[in-house]
């Protein structure tokens, strides 16, 4: 008794933690997320300052180099397009607490599958876009789905940790593509395939500059439509369909899902394959819309990993993913010219850390109380 009065006298306020019983409001959730972003940028600034940079100059440069005018904004959207698709891929798997870390490999295999249509060749080079693009999209999605199916199947049948198996498949995918571009499809000994014919490319805004002069030089391509349409479809699947309900139920409470008769094994395989298909579509969109040939260096650029962070930042909501992807597209676009070159990756990491840490504020209520209570 005497001791507690002593504490009371010395320090009258107490910090108390209470678990929140109700869902935190959307506004609070948004504020906490924004707060986490601000803290993350501040921490990133500290590291930039530590290596002798000026964080304010760096951040101002990032903003100007990615949103400054229509040209760079268009480039930002080009960078955001693959991220939208990989983030959608991660989000659907994460909903079910399936930790698909293999979006990168699924993305690369998608690019390979789409390229095989052109280079094998499955479709003749003179064919029109109306034939090429659907076939390439299908091929990309199937290769991505196959690459997602493997860890899904191993998880469902042998309880193999999908984090490590899907991650290992990333490295295998890079070697696989390297084998093709160094050997079979190499163009004159260079580490890249020949350029695709026009029919095998996604149209860019600049192609319509004759009718709309404002589009001149804009590189945004039709892959963006894939991203937006996929996001809308996925939103309906997750929030409006029976299957989406099952996925959310397994993610929230697998025990309850089992009692309700949901087939967890089949869903594990399906969701991983769907996740892979989305990432694979991203790979197809990148190879047909931007690179227009198969090579590893710009394709295996870590979009799969950025997708993980974006999915998390968007709270796994498919529509929010579009907005967050554009912010991250900006970071990557501007980051290419910034020294040291690791800065975008570092900032992404710090954002993810702050975001997870900030979740604590959504799960607990901090209350400052006076004295005992």
């Amino acid at each position: 008794m005497a001791e507690s009065t002593l504490i009371k006298k010395r320090f009258p306020w107490r910090l108390k933690l209470e678990p929140r019983l109700d869902e935190p409001s959307t506004l609070l959730s948004l504020l906490v997320t924004l707060g986490a972003m601000v803290v993350a940028l501040a921490l990133g600034g500290v590291v930039i300052a530590a290596v002798g940079g000026n964080p304010f100059v760096s951040y101002a440069y990032i903003a100007k180099a990615s949103f400054g005018d229509a040209g760079v904004l268009s480039d930002t959207i080009v960078k955001a397009t693959p991220i939208i698709l990989t983030a959608l891929a991660c989000s659907i798997a994460f909903r079910m607490k399936l930790w698909n870390i293999g979006a990168e490999g699924q993305f690369i295999m998608g690019a390979w599958g789409a390229s095989a249509v052109v280079l094998a060749p499955l479709v003749s080079a003179e064919a029109s876009r109306w034939l090429f693009i659907p076939v390439m999209a299908l091929a990309g999605m199937s290769m991505g789905a196959a690459w997602g199916f493997i860890p899904g199947y191993l998880k469902a049948k042998f309880n193999v940790n999908e984090i490590i198996s899907s991650l290992m498949l990333n490295y295998i995918a890079v070697s696989w593509v390297n084998f093709w571009i160094f050997g079979v499809w190499s163009e004159g000994g260079f580490q890249m395939s020949p350029k695709f014919p026009v029919g095998a490319s996604l149209p860019r805004l600049s192609e319509y500059a004759k009718t709309i002069p404002a589009f001149r030089g804009l590189t945004t391509h039709a892959g963006l439509l894939f991203g937006i349409v996929a996001a809308i479809i996925l939103w309906f699947i997750v929030f409006r369909s029976r299957w989406g309900y099952e996925i959310r139920l397994i993610g929230d409470n697998p025990q309850a899902a089992k009692y309700a008769g949901v087939n967890i094994i089949r869903n594990t395989i399906f969701v991983m394959a769907l996740s892979g298909a989305l990432a694979g579509l991203g790979g197809m969109s990148e190879v047909a819309g931007v690179v227009r040939r198969l090579q590893t260096s710009p394709i295996a650029a870590g979009y799969g990993f950025t997708g993980i962070i974006v999915a998390w930042l968007a709270k796994l909501n498919p529509l929010v993913i579009i907005i967050v992807s554009i912010l991250f597209g900006a970071l990557i676009l501007a980051g290419r010219e910034i020294q040291p070159s690791g800065i975008p990756k570092m900032i992404q990491g710090i954002i993810l850390v702050c975001l997870i840490a900030s979740d604590f504020l959504l799960r607990y209520r901090l209350r400052i109380t006076r004295g005992e209570e």
Binding site: K16, F158, S175, S186, G342, I343, Q348, A357, D359, F360
Partner: protein, 322 residues
């Protein structure tokens, strides 16, 4: 293609995996899954290399590497133990942070010149043993020998000592451990730190002994993830961890060596004459990790062996705030 030389080099490169795997075994035994091994290894490799360049003393480099990776691991400890967030996501985040920070701070290190490396030496009597002597005890780095000592030490510590008992209790049944007066939170922080230090040591082993230098993310090339996979194969046991690590080290080495000779088993070596086939060899460590995982997981189901019961779960004390 001398098998003795391949195995000798395999033991050296397996030491990297051994340190990282042992560290993760200890952290997971305390109930904390830390997927940030790859990031912590990169921090260790970068710090070890740059401190060695700055001071000329590789031992200071190793020490700094362990300390830096240990400190980075505490981010994960704070988020998962105190803030009770999901260990999977936090571990991934740690990998991103570790990779990013080591890239930013390590910028320019790849151009750095030679550094005084860890010393290599042979053990007098043991190196005379036929076959085993040349493989394990001849002209190895001092870090490799430290690795040998660490395996029985870790096994004895976990299975035969009182602090080891506490460690297992915290990972298997934290509330019972808590009731016995063991500080669950403090122990978990400590073992995440130890795990981070060992991952850092693994990273420093690459940049100072096995493949000296700093090559940005390629320095580790996914070995941190292979280590996480090996923990499952090892069933959280240091001795099995050693077997797996050295086997993987030998495999990595074999893949390098198989592309050299003109003639392989009396045939023209396809990997020499068609170098793009070498990419299939590069897939092997990753493919084997998946196979090892399948074997390890099936065995675990069959023998009812398993992860520490509380692995992955935050410990929340019954009466909070008292």
């Amino acid at each position: 293609m001398d098998p003795i030389i391949i195995l000798q080099a395999g033991v050296a490169s397996g030491t990297v995996l051994l340190f990282a795997t042992l560290g993760e075994v200890l952290a997971e035994r305390s109930g904390v899954l830390n997927l940030g091994v790859e990031g912590m290894m990169l921090i260790g490799a970068m710090t070890g290399f740059s401190v060695t360049i700055a001071t000329g003393n590789p031992w200071l480099g190793v020490l700094a590497a362990m300390l830096a990776a240990g400190l980075v691991s505490q981010i994960h400890a704070f988020i998962t133990i105190t803030l009770q967030a999901d260990q999977v996501v936090s571990g991934l985040a740690l990998t991103f942070v570790g990779t990013g920070i080591s890239l930013v701070l390590g910028e320019g290190l790849s151009k750095a010149g030679t550094v005084s490396l860890m010393p290599n030496f042979s053990i007098p009597l043991l190196s005379a043993i036929p076959i085993l002597g040349p493989i394990f005890f001849t002209n190895q780095s001092v870090l490799v020998y430290i690795g040998y000592l660490m395996v029985p030490l870790a096994w004895y510590y976990i299975n035969r000592t009182r602090p080891g008992l506490h460690l297992r209790a915290v990972g298997e049944y934290p509330s019972a451990a808590d009731a016995l007066g063991i500080n669950v939170f403090r122990l978990r922080y400590a073992y995440v730190f130890v795990g981070g230090m060992l991952a850092g040591l693994g990273g420093a082993t690459i940049s100072l002994a096995v493949a000296p230098g700093w090559f940005s993310e390629l320095t580790t090339g996914g070995q941190g993830w292979i280590a996480v996979g090996l923990v499952i194969f090892a069933q959280w046991d240091p001795i099995r961890a050693a077997v797996g690590s050295y086997a993987f080290g030998a495999l990595r080495r074999l893949i390098l060596d198989i592309q050299g000779p003109l003639v392989l088993f009396g045939f023209k070596n396809p990997f020499y004459y068609n170098s793009s086939l070498g990419f299939f060899l590069q897939m092997l460590p990753y493919a084997f990790t998946v196979i090892v995982l399948v074997i390890g997981s099936r065995e675990a189901i069959r023998k009812r062996l398993g992860a520490p019961a509380a692995l992955g779960n935050p410990y929340i004390r019954g009466e909070r705030g008292k």
